[in-house]
Amino acid sequence: MMRLPPCGYIAPATLAEATAILRDEGPEAAILAGGTDLLAKMKRRQQRPSTLVGLRRVVGLRGVRGGPRSGLRIGAMTTLAELERHEAVRAHYPGLHQALRSIATPLLRNAGTIGGNLCLDTRCNYYDQSFEWRRAINFCMKCDGDVCWVAPGSDVCLAVASSDAAPVLCAFGARLVLAGPRGERTIEAKDLYRRDGIRFLAKDPAEILAAVLLPPAGRLRSSYSKLRRRGSFDFPVLGVAACLRFDRDVVADARLWLTAVSMAPVQAEEAERALVGRPLTGASIDEAAECAWARAKPVDNTDFTVRWRKEMTRHHVRQALGALTSSVRFA
């Protein structure tokens, strides 16, 4: 039977308490949000925190405030399912809605939270394995070992960012509220991530992601296209988030972010430039897809072959952008 390793548990009532506990407990403590990823990893002995700091009882971390005109403030402990059902998200932030719907399974989305998904552990074929196999290869840099088996010369861990929500929020230019022992600060969503599979979050371990701030929906059009084997369960092997702002029928601003291709979400800047300043057409989409394809350099540490995954970048960029063409004529 797969049982959790013994660990302590505490459920603070305020963010201040929670961050103080995290500071005092040090890196041995782990933040428990929905638990859907962390607890499974603990059972596989990939993570062994001495204490779980449950955020369930922290006041004010759950729920969505605001509206499409003013923007949304989403509490980090809002479950993925709650957010998926939220009318404003569905109607005005379709890219986020699509990303949320594609995460794992409905059962996991009922427990998993937006904060948890944004802080989702990076994944790798050499890390997300049974304890026995990891031991047989002498473990890897990310956990209990020294070498990155994906690229043994690498001094950085190459485990891939696997959050479906992260690229969408990066594309939206969302901001994140981090609460720490010394108070709150707000950062760009994209600045949460570091290109390091181990220290993949640019935040202090004692800081807690408290809220997501979505900008006003305005004339933003968004979509998300995900690659995986099955229609449910599977983590992304590639995810493409697109967020365009139109000025009449011309693309005024374009954001294209990829997930599951690197240690952090990746911005496809050349592809964005190919879209801006012209109407969204088959030709501009093809050009953007080509740029994104050139930019995508997946490494061999997820499901499927590297070659096919790179090939699929074109397709999913086309999918994501193609979904926005119907809304071109809104002006």
Binding site: P6, G8, Y9, E17, G35, K43, R44, G54, A104, P106
Partner: protein, 205 residues
């Protein structure tokens, strides 16, 4: 590391994990990994107070401490849906829920789906249409389907597929399950609704 045998404690709890932080002063220490704490569970309408170690999952507590074996072990890693229960009315995986996180929240398992002696329409439809084949995935699927019908009283086939897309079944091919959910939904509007002839007898030319 040795731990004490868990036993059922009926006495009134001296303290409970959930409120521990607030009771114990400005900044309490966490619950010791090797100490048991009292946990109050509302399961299928009954209250239980039990002493558990912090790392026990809801699945383990239901089955091992409360003897509610209707909820099944499948993979214990969130990959199959077999251990689905309703927590606050929402279907979640009990293998990935820490018992202490369920303190004071209503839990409904397959044993609690019926309304007293009256089976839930889903239970009736699953029985009638043979949607429970070996039956091992059934408790989890029933819990997921119940939540679906509460959110959407008249789901179409795609909505059913989607709602059950986290529950694996290795026997039925899912078809009888879809049909049973549809029948249960129909019966909530027309209590005497019968399954279609094709559903029962298949296609015979």
């Amino acid at each position: 590391m040795a731990r004490l045998v868990k036993r059922r404690v009926n006495a009134r709890p001296r303290r409970r994990a959930g409120i521990l932080a607030r009771q114990a002063g400005r900044r309490p220490g966490p619950v010791d990994p090797h100490r048991r704490v009292f946990l109050r569970l509302h399961v299928n309408g009954a209250d239980h107070t039990i002493a558990v170690a912090p790392h026990r999952t809801l699945l383990e507590i239901l089955r091992e401490d409360l003897g509610l074996t209707g909820t099944k072990h499948g993979c214990e890693l969130g990959e199959c849906g077999t251990c689905t229960v309703l927590l606050d009315g929402i279907p979640v995986l009990s293998c990935l829920a820490l018992g202490l996180e369920c303190d004071d929240r209503p839990v409904v398992t397959v044993e609690g789906l019926a309304d007293g002696p009256t089976p839930h329409p889903l239970q009736e439809a699953f029985t009638e249409l043979g949607a429970a084949q070996c039956g091992y995935c059934t408790p989890g699927i029933l819990c997921a389907a119940k939540a679906l019908l509460e959110a959407d009283p008249d789901p179409n086939r795609d909505a059913i597929r989607e709602a059950l897309s986290g529950n694996l079944c290795r026997c039925t091919g899912y078809i009888k399950i879809f049909e049973a959910v549809e029948l249960a939904a129909k019966r909530r509007r027309e209590p005497r609704a019968a399954p279609s002839r094709e559903t029962l007898f298949g296609r015979r030319d």
